[in-house]
């Protein structure tokens, strides 16, 4: 395989201080990017700068620091709007992450508009974060939960989806990209079909935003949630996109400061969008730093990041398949840079422990997708997921590591 340099890899690696360390005497190889990506110095500096120079509470004070903090906070909202292709910043709500965004929709839209006897559709590829909130809602309201099954390649069975759709379905919630297998789901088609029966669609974008271009208007998504920490940004912050008309019709999620217009003991009127859904002092510093993460990705070029990751995935898949007894779990035609696999006769945890001793960080286990693991009749997988700073040499380290692990466990 001849490898052309798609990105300036040495320069990129230098942007991530955490990568420059040894684990157990070996250079760290970080392949747990689907769990969380590492942070570039630009993001770390944005956090530091905020606390060193601009820290103040937002939307309240009239002093200079409050103005600066508010300006930067709102600048991220505009950056996220652009990033998602949303029509207006009123449609961008800051959350603590994907899980928070999904729960917000389940608790407000779900509680108000979905009733006993109605149906909600999710898929067999979902993360627990996109299963449990709907189960809770279904239990509370007497709603039925239906699941789109997964085929042997790890793709959604769209024929069954067609059959599940009916006038009873009020909401469909699926992920854009599967965290366990990397499958890219045909969400544009899923959304169009759901709309045809009058259902709204929530997209869990946690795994998509670092790899794919997102355009919520083109997709016609009703809700789209993501987490900053999976796209080189800080932990504890994310955003929820919602169509304005839907957000306006929804009741608030939490009550408190910031989300109100006027409070009297008789009646409180709520603030306008998006503040209606942002009760309390938000995670200002991390929101500010999220903008640096989005800019960082743009500075490399999102198409280049994707091309580099695809190259790594292709190379890794070829090499992995040469290991005897190894089976890929998730061989979708469309997938992001996630290689999930099992090796016959070896428990994933043993692989993870030994690879860690070799300096290679992978994820092992069920990846918060227990129903999916059950579907494939496995306990869990070993998952290597690649980001922009990973290299072919690192993939070679993984492959050599797996050979060593196999020998040790034989």
């Amino acid at each position: 395989m001849t490898l052309t340099e798609i990105v300036d890899i040495q320069k990129i690696r230098a942007d991530f201080p955490v990568l420059d360390q040894e684990i157990n005497g070996k250079k760290l190889v970080y392949f747990d990017n689907a769990a969380t990506t590492q942070k570039p110095i630009a993001v770390i500096n944005a956090l530091k700068h905020y606390y060193e120079f601009d820290n103040a509470n937002i939307h309240r004070g009239i002093h200079t620091l409050a103005e600066r903090a508010t300006r930067d906070f709102e600048a991220t909202r505009e950056a996220v709007r652009k990033f998602l292709g949303a029509a207006s910043t009123e449609e961008i709500i800051f959350t603590s992450g994907t899980t928070n965004g999904i729960n917000l929709v389940a608790s407000t839209y779900g509680r108000k508009f979905i009733k006993e006897g109605d149906e909600i559709i999710i898929s067999g590829l979902e993360h627990h974060s996109n299963i449990v909130p709907w189960q809770m809602l279904c239990e509370e309201k007497g709603i039925t939960l239906k699941v789109i099954p997964v085929n042997d390649r790890g793709e959604l069975d769209m024929e069954v989806y067609d059959q599940l759709l009916s006038e009873k379905v009020k909401l469909v919630s699926v992920n854009h990209v599967s965290n366990a297998l990397g499958t890219i789901n045909p969400i544009k088609e899923i959304i169009a079909k759901a709309h045809a029966v009058g259902a709204v669609v929530m997209i869990d974008g946690a795994q998509a935003t670092s790899h794919l271009d997102i355009d919520v208007q083109d997709l016609d998504a009703d809700f789209y949630a993501f987490s900053a920490h999976k796209l080189y940004g800080p932990t504890g912050v994310g955003a929820l996109y919602g169509k304005k008309a839907l957000l306006e019709a929804m009741p608030p999620y939490m009550g408190g400061g910031e989300m109100i217009k006027e409070v009297t003991f008789e009646k409180t009127t709520y603030n306008e969008l998006p503040y209606k859904f942002e009760a309390g002092t938000p995670n200002i510093a991390d929101v500010v730093a999220l903008k640096a993460a989005l800019e960082y990705m743009d500075s490399i070029g999102r198409d280049k990041i994707a091309a580099h990751e695809d190259m790594l995935l292709q190379y890794a898949t070829e090499q992995l398949l040469q290991i005897e007894g190894l089976r890929m779990i998730g061989e979708a035609k469309n997938k992001v840079s996630v290689a999930s696999f099992v090796i016959e006769g070896i428990h994933p945890q043993d692989i993870g422990v030994l690879l860690d001793n070799l300096g290679v960080a992978v994820r092992t286990g069920h990846h918060c997708t227990q129903p999916l693991m059950k579907r494939f009749n496995i306990l869990g997988t070993t998952r290597a997921s690649f980001a922009v700073y990973n290299t072919i040499e690192e993939v070679d380290r993984l492959i050599a590591g797996l050979h060593r692990v196999k020998k040790m466990l034989a």
Partner: protein, 138 residues
């Protein structure tokens, strides 16, 4: 041998290894040699749930002493389980309940007892002591 004498013996065995891989190969070997439990004893009652790998633990009285048998689906955990059994099994409930396990730390395997590993080992040690305390009372 007392519990501490056995712990010291294991520490001495591990002192021979200067490479991480030798240590792990030894543990893997012990894991493979541990008899484990027959399938019909891997019950929900005996299970100690870790996030990633399950451990099963069984205890019974043999005369005055408490005997443990255990199994795990991951071989490294099974090797560690095997050492725990070697140290604790066959002693009186009082000795087991009062024991202090220092060998895991000394042989450089303490990270496997950390919460994050979620392999059921921490719960297993706790459960072994609970059995000992319970058997002390009867």
């Amino acid at each position: 041998m007392t519990i501490n004498e056995i712990q010291d013996e294991i520490i001495e065995e591990f002192a021979l290894f200067d490479d991480w891989a030798d240590k792990y190969e030894y543990i893997i070997d012990m894991g493979k040699k541990l008899k484990g439990l027959p399938e019909d004893q891997k019950t929900e009652d005996n299970i100690i749930k870790g996030c990633q790998s399950r451990v099963w633990l069984n205890a019974h009285k043999d005369g005055e002493n408490l005997v443990f048998e255990a199994d795990s689906e991951a071989v490294i955990v099974k090797g560690l389980v095997s050492m725990l059994i070697r140290v604790l099994s066959g002693h009186s409930p009082k000795e087991i309940a009062e024991s202090e396990l220092y060998f895991i730390d000394q042989i450089g395997m303490s990270q496997h007892l950390a919460q994050t590993r979620s392999n059921g080992l921490v719960s297993m040690v706790k459960q072994m002591k609970n059995y000992a305390i319970a058997y002390q009372l009867v």
